[in-house]
């Protein structure tokens, strides 16, 4: 299992009396793009939050690039070098420009020299195609631009694993394709991605593997084209029905 960047085994997590995750197993290998699918409330986002060290878990094991997470989610001084997270609503810091959002952590947390951090931030923004927006405030950015800035911010610590929560939700189909290409570039450079997603077309086109989550457990796993066309589990079929019948 040492080749795995992420290894989650038997993850259990409760909020109050409600058990959200009931023994989840997830693994992500190097340069893999794993999609986590499931209906709303199935626990997809919670899996990401536990891996990012934001929510404490009650049982199981989370290991990222050889680092085992503390179950009570106390701040780990090494974790941010292993895992980056892009939130569904981007959560950019509203009082800072796009570039400042990217270099704030390197300068104040990682101890990078400000000039180096600024140069690196410009580079990251350029890679993601938003270099021209570096002095814009978050409220001045479009949804797609804000997402790219958020990705750049998460990559500033150069983590092995990037978590993305519903990255396609706020994008139109053309932008989704661009995002997929960006993700491919990232995996090509050796990064691993774990992404929650509702869009089965996107998953078919870009994911290397898919996991279907239902009621806090992984019910199906495998190659996206196989799982999403010849789905064996009812939860997967319902997921596809909802999508084709839904508003978009």
């Amino acid at each position: 299992m040492s080749a795995k960047v992420l290894n989650v085994e038997g993850l259990r997590l409760s909020r109050g009396k409600r058990e959200i995750l009931r023994g989840v197993d997830v693994s992500v290998g190097a340069s893999e793009l794993v999609a986590l699918m499931g209906l709303s409330g199935s626990g997809k986002t919670t899996v990401l939050r536990a891996i990012a060290g934001l929510d404490p878990f009650s049982a199981g094991r989370i290991e990222v690039d050889g680092l085992a997470l503390n179950p009570n989610a106390t701040l780990h001084s090494e974790l941010h070098r292993k895992v980056g997270m892009v939130f569904q609503f981007h959560c950019l810091w509203e009082h800072l420009t796009a570039a400042e959002n990217v270099w704030l952590a390197p300068v104040h947390v990682y101890g990078t020299a400000p000039t180096d951090a600024r140069a690196r931030a410009r580079e990251l923004l350029a890679d993601l195609g938003v270099a021209h927006r570096e002095s814009a405030l978050p409220r001045e950015l479009s949804g797609g631009e804000a997402q790219r800035v958020a990705i750049a911010r998460a990559l500033a610590a150069d983590p092995k694993l990037l978590l993305m929560d519903e990255p396609t939700a706020s994008l139109d189909p053309a932008r989704r394709g661009e995002l997929g290409e960006t993700m491919r570039t990232l995996t090509a450079k050796g990064r691993s991605l774990l992404v929650t997603c509702h869009d089965d077309d996107f998953v078919r086109n870009f994911a290397t593997r898919v996991l279907v989550l239902a009621e806090g457990q992984v019910v199906e796993e495998g190659d996206p084209r196989t799982v999403l066309t010849t789905s064996k589990h009812e939860a997967t079929r319902r997921l596809l029905d909802v999508r084709s019948a839904g508003p978009s």
């Binding site: 070098r81 997270m85 959560c91 009082h95 104040h108 405030l137 610590a157």
Partner: protein, 495 residues
């Protein structure tokens, strides 16, 4: 129905004609006017008995109206009552604005010191570099104001005539200049004090009426003279133990036809009281302008430093309430609610007078602490709300990037909360600027107090009031503008 209304109207008029409304300040206490301990609606004192005597002579029923000493002249002018008498001093300014009776009592301005200092501090001249207290808006205050430049004493004004003597006993001031009547009373209450026998100045108590009350003034003067001639006035003063050898001579002059004794018999008054003719309003205004400006600076400095204290303490409380454990949170909630739920005036009194036995804070420091901590409670609520208004997602994003709680606060949560808090903070600063006038109860002469002193001496509020308002506006307006501009800058999208 109409007949009934007419009847009621007539009855009201007859009733009004049958009552003599007179105003005084029961806070001044005995022997002038004091509330009866057994029945606070009743008052007693020599001024009460003189009012009763006058009412009786006019066939009217006396009715007491409570008014603050400093505003007796303005109230009688407005017609709140017919007469004002409460140890009111005769002055040229009052005679210019009001109808004033003949003097009915002669008092001496005397200097009271601590027993140990009786040899050291005999006159105002001996008190150079020391603090001398008195009641604001009195002739004594005028004398002390003049002595500030002439003898380099430091004049301290109080709103009541009890605390100058208690502060003299505990060492906050080194002498008190006030009427011999008040000095005698205070010496009985406060041991360890000594009143110098010589008079710094001589003054007279008079009764004030509005200028329209010419007929009333005539009958009041006639009755006072009659009471001087037949000894009724002497009986009243003897009863209240304030009769002395100065009175028969003064009575003689009044009975000989003098309506006013202003400008006479001023032994060594320090130049302030011999103003027989009040100087023109504009001369007085120019004379008072520097002290008003000085008072404005005190207001501004006091408000700025108090706000600084309020901001720092308020921020600390907010941090405790947002990040602290349950015990700290409940403790701070209690502190905030108690501070917000009690009057700031009460807090100032407790800090300055209440704690005097434990820690004797200088007036300015007590004012700073009182205002600062009171406003800290309000600021803390603003900051708490502002900190909680920063979206949780932004804090979680910081966490996933390795920021500690304190770095998040300093770099992400704090700066954004500050922007939310700016508008309510500016509001509070403007409110504090105006609330700072409350500290005059601690003898700090700030803008409002100085205006009041000015108005008392001028006999009108119109000019001092307008000047004072203009100065407050000049201080708060630029601030409001600046805050407004910052807010627009931070809120308006530029794309």
């Amino acid at each position: 129905m109409c007949a009934l209304l007419v009847l009621a109207g007539c009855a009201a008029r007859v009733f009004a004609g049958g009552v003599l409304r007179w105003g005084g300040d029961a806070e001044g206490g005995a022997p002038y006017v004091e509330a009866d301990a057994n029945d606070p609606t009743k008052v007693r004192g020599f001024d009460v008995e003189i009012a009763e005597m006058l009412a009786k002579a006019m066939g009217r029923t006396p009715q007491f109206v409570q008014a603050a000493f400093a505003s007796l002249d303005q109230s009688v002018k407005r017609g709140d009552f017919d007469l004002a008498l409460s140890g009111v001093e005769d002055s040229a300014a009052k005679r210019a604005e009001l109808a004033v009776s003949v003097p009915y009592y002669e008092f001496r301005e005397v200097l009271t010191v601590r027993e140990a200092d009786r040899e050291r501090f005999g006159t105002l001249k001996d008190l150079a570099g020391h603090k001398v207290a008195t009641l604001s808006g009195t002739t004594a205050w005028e004398i002390l104001s003049a002595a500030q430049s002439e003898h380099h004493i430091e004049a301290v004004s109080y709103d009541d005539d009890m605390h100058p003597y208690s502060d003299l006993a505990n060492g906050r001031v080194d002498a008190v200049l006030l009427d011999n009547v008040i000095a005698d009373r205070s010496m009985r209450r406060q041991p360890g004090l000594f009143t110098q026998p010589g008079a710094v100045a001589v003054g007279h108590y008079v009764i004030l009426m509005s200028k329209e009350q010419g007929a009333l003034q005539k009958s009041v003067n006639a009755e006072l003279r009659a009471a001087m001639a037949d000894g009724r006035l002497e009986t009243i003063f003897r009863k209240w133990k304030v009769w002395n050898d100065d009175q028969p001579a003064m009575h003689k002059r009044v009975l000989a036809g003098a309506d006013s004794l202003l400008g006479e018999a001023q032994p060594d008054a320090a130049g302030a009281t011999n103003a027989t003719n009040a100087p023109p309003v504009w001369t007085l205004t120019i004379r008072y302008l520097p002290s008003l400006l000085r008072a404005a600076v005190i207001t501004l400095v006091l408000s700025c430093v108090a706000m600084l204290l309020a901001v720092s303490v308020g921020f600390a409380i907010a941090i405790g309430r947002v990040y602290g454990g349950p015990a700290l949170r409940s403790l701070l909630t209690v502190v905030v609610e108690v501070t917000r739920g009690t009057p700031v005036l009460l807090q100032l009194f407790v800090i300055y007078y209440g704690l005097a036995a434990v820690v004797r804070l200088p007036p300015f420091v007590a004012a700073l602490v009182g205002l600062g901590f009171n406003y800290a409670a309000y600021e803390s609520e603003i900051y708490r709300a502002a900190l909680e208004a920063v979206p949780r997602g932004q804090l979680e994003a910081a966490r996933t990037l390795g920021f500690t709680i304190w770095k998040t606060l300093r770099l992400i949560r704090g700066p954004q909360a500050f922007r939310y808090a700016l508008a309510p903070m500016t509001n509070d600063f403007v409110a504090l600027l105006k609330d700072s006038s409350l500290v005059s109860v601690l003898t700090v002469v700030e803008l409002t107090k100085q205006t009041q002193i000015f108005a008392t001496n001028l006999g009108t509020w119109a000019i001092p009031g307008a000047l004072c308002a203009a100065m407050y506006l000049a201080m708060s307006w630029p601030l409001a503008r600046l805050a407004g501009r910052l807010e627009t800058k931070w809120k308006a999208p530029t794309a």
